[in-house]
């Protein structure tokens, strides 16, 4: 029983409601006239509201300096600071106070389009451990809501935490190497475009394995936006499929990298599977998707690489698993919560490092499931906003470990209504395509391929690190509790028990040999 009771019937306080209505009204007024002809009434997002009292907090005692500033400094001010890229700074009380109702509103959206910070993991389903997770806890939301509702008091100035400098020129990772593209120009009225960018030399004198890579678009789009109402107006590079290649190498010898997408966060590779950046290589791409911001825009891309130590060697190779359906997408007009489904049978045991939904304008949510034997388990559900495409890297010892034969299943949830500001005209049916206003449905995450021995080793390590007992279950590890000993070790499961389990399974016809004894 959680100490956090669900707040039944709690209403949005009046002044916050006004702020919300102002926000929504503004959005509707800004919408193009044709949207007003749609038959579907717009609805706002659902808000996650909490009572401070349920966390033992006196709402009247919540102040900016002691309670709110630390939250903002951890999750917001990297962007919301002078020169940080966000539309307003939130580093001082004076800067923040006018925005209190909006901060309450945006954070309470929590896991859907429009929330801040842009991180959409649903907290009531699936794995909850991710790297670089900036999301706010229930208690933090309760504090913000109490603070905003109580007039946003400053509190004791002496309690204001010192603002931490943003290291590494604003990079989320700690780059060892940064390179940039040539300028890319996109006319304000141009149609979508796909093609090459100029190769980018990489000044690297020895091969290095990469721990993480981060790409950001730097452009001259005004911070207030362009006035364009559809998807991705802040950026022009909607995707970049790229590789690093030493001149003279074949495409097959080149290193492929995760796709850069509009508003993306960094890729964090597994400590067991860094990507090789070869000395003398250059970034090459024939697949940059440019989308007009609505005004003439000049941009360039900056690529930051963080390396593993020079003597690093990867342990695992990546599994190539294509998960999605880009062909049979059919999205009705004026309807939300429309499901798309994609499946793939795993040909190897895998460790899933990252989950990365890639949808387009109607994308609202995507879930990842693992189907093993009869059991269907949800690994992750996340909201989606095509202005902020996120990759979700599982924290160490929380990555799904799935046996070969598992069916991985993604479900996309599409919102083709006026409630989705990314949609140009929700009265129109939508199908598949590469444009930002047509649709993709893909998981671009990263999976590692495991041998039988490695799979068993990973599960044994998981049991040890998480200190699992017989009544535990690990989401995303359907065979962890089979307690298969490491190859060459004797297990803690008596042989007669294993035999009995197998016999019972054979009688019922349901136990898979891998689950019972590590064999197929």
């Amino acid at each position: 029983m959680s100490k956090h009771r669900i707040i039944q019937g709690k209403q949005v306080p009046r002044h916050s409601l006004v702020a919300c209505i102002v926000f929504i009204t503004g959005a509707l007024l800004a919408a193009p006239p044709l949207l007003a002809q749609s038959t579907t009434p717009p609805t706002g997002p659902e808000l996650h509201l909490f009572a401070a009292e349920d966390f033992g907090i006196d709402p009247a005692d919540v102040t900016f300096t002691r309670d709110i500033a630390p939250i903002l400094q951890r999750s917001c001010v990297r962007c919301h600071r002078e020169g940080g890229g966000g539309p307003m700074a939130l580093t001082t009380y004076e800067q923040t106070r006018p925005w209190a109702p909006v901060i309450k509103y945006k954070t309470a959206i929590r896991d859907r389009m429009g929330t801040m910070p842009p991180w959409y993991v649903e907290k009531d389903i699936g794995i909850q451990h991710y790297k670089q997770d900036p999301s706010l806890s229930d208690e933090e939301l309760a504090k913000i809501q109490a603070w905003a509702d109580n007039g946003a008091p400053q509190g004791d100035p002496s309690l204001m935490p010192e603002l931490q400098e943003v290291a590494d020129e604003g990079w989320t990772i700690q780059p060892d190497l940064v390179v940039r593209s040539e300028d890319i120009f996109m006319e304000g009225g141009a149609p979508d475009w796909w093609g090459e960018i100029d190769s980018i030399p990489i000044p690297l004198e020895q091969d290095r394995y990469v721990r993480s890579v981060e790409i950001r678009e730097v452009n001259d789009v005004p911070a207030a936006g362009t006035g364009r109402q559809t998807v991705g107006g802040r950026w022009i590079v909607h995707h970049l499929i790229y590789r690093t290649q030493v001149p003279g190498e074949t495409r097959e010898e080149a290193t492929g990298w995760p796709v850069h997408e509009v508003g993306r966060n960094p890729d964090l590779f597994s400590p067991e599977s860094g990507r090789l950046l070869k000395a003398g290589s250059e970034i090459r791409s024939e697949s940059a998707h440019l989308h007009s911001s609505g005004i003439d825009t000049t941009a360039h891309l900056e690529f930051a690489f963080e390396f593993f130590p020079p003597d690093y060697e990867p342990k695992y190779e990546e599994a190539r698993v294509s998960l999605g359906d880009g062909l049979n997408i059919s999205i009705e007009p004026n309807a939300d919560n429309q499901e798309l489904h994609g499946y793939r049978v795993l040909q190897d045991h895998v460790k899933i490092i990252a989950y990365e939904p890639h949808l387009h304008a109607p994308g609202d949510r995507m879930c990842l499931e693992a189907i093993w034997d009869r059991q269907i388990e949800t690994l992750s559900c996340v909201g989606y906003d095509h202005n902020w495409v996120r990759t979700y890297t599982f924290a160490e010892n929380h990555e799904p470990l799935l046996p070969k034969g598992t069916i991985v299943h993604i479900t996309g949830f599409m919102d083709n209504t006026r409630s989705n500001p990314n949609i140009p005209d929700p009265r129109n049916w939508q199908g598949s395509g590469n444009r930002s206003v047509t649709n993709m449905f893909i998981d671009l995450g990263i999976m590692l391929k495991l041998s039988d021995e490695e799979f068993v080793e990973e599960m044994a390590k998981r049991r040890e690190v998480l200190d699992l007992d017989v009544n535990d279950h690990v989401i995303g590890c359907p065979l962890c509790m089979a307690k298969i000993p490491r190859f060459g070790e004797s297990g803690d499961m008596p042989a007669e028990e294993t035999t009995a389990a197998v016999n019972e399974g054979e009688r019922s016809g349901t136990v898979n040999a891998v689950a019972a004894g590590g064999r197929e």
Binding site: S2, K10, T40, G195, S322, D425
Partner: protein
Amino acid sequence: MSKGVRVPVPGTGLLATALLLIMMVMPNWAGAQRLAYTKGEPLFPAYEGWTDHADGSRSFLFGYMNENWEQTLNIPVGENNYFSPAPQDQGQPTYFLPRRNRFVFEVPVPEGFGEEDEFTWTVQANGHSYSAHATLRQDYYVDNVVIMSETGALGAGTSSPEIRANEPPAIALEGREQLRSTRVGQALTLVAKVTDDGQPPAEGFRNATAPEPDATSEELLQRALTQTSGSTVAKAVGLHFTWTVYRGPGDAVAFDPPQIKPWEDTRQFANSPWAPYWVPPELRKPSELPEDGRWHTEVVFQQPGTYVLRGRADDGGLFADQYVTVQVAAD
């Protein structure tokens, strides 16, 4: 772990009541991926976008999605297949093939058509009525690169200057003018000479490969068992030419040889450029691309009436259409 209650916004009583009333009179949309029905499902007219031409004129581009995997639909121009504002007939098809059909026809943008105007195509099929709303909104601006990308010729979006310079094929219909006549059961021979600039290249670009003529059963089985990607819209490129019925009772028409499907039959080994393993005629072994560029087709009609046939030459990226009207007399 508990969570907070989710409160819809806006939430005032009056507004919420009004919204609720509106919701109650709206249709109860299914809102879910459809099962693979063979018939009885809706047809969605699709607005693909607008494009401009060298002479400064502009056109709206339309297609459709017939949700049925087998059912074709014959819907004459009229109350169930019309444009608004009038005239109702803007050259749209009346015979609808299964599944997704992109960039089927175009309609000139009327003089004086403004940013706030719109043009609507409505189709009612199997009891469901849907409309495509055409506007000049910037998001819907289409050029040849967009068309190639949207149809899947660029895969996930890969191109080159050569491919972006691709020009559509050209069709020259041999014989008499575009009005033909025949009788029920009597074969009509159509010969279309198709030329193209060779872009995009069928070989080495989208990697469609044909099995060797002497491939063993084991090799063919292994090929068939290999799973393909299809994470984005993907189409095998390579020149081909296809006749289909555009207007008239299409189920009463037979083509010899069987025509490559111009619709997105995505099932394995279907005769459609969107199907896994489909190989364009020039890469088939032996090649089925006519050396002289002349595509011969015999058409037999089983019902009298007036038909419009559409011949589409498609290099995988861009296409050209040729229409023939055939008057079929009773036997």
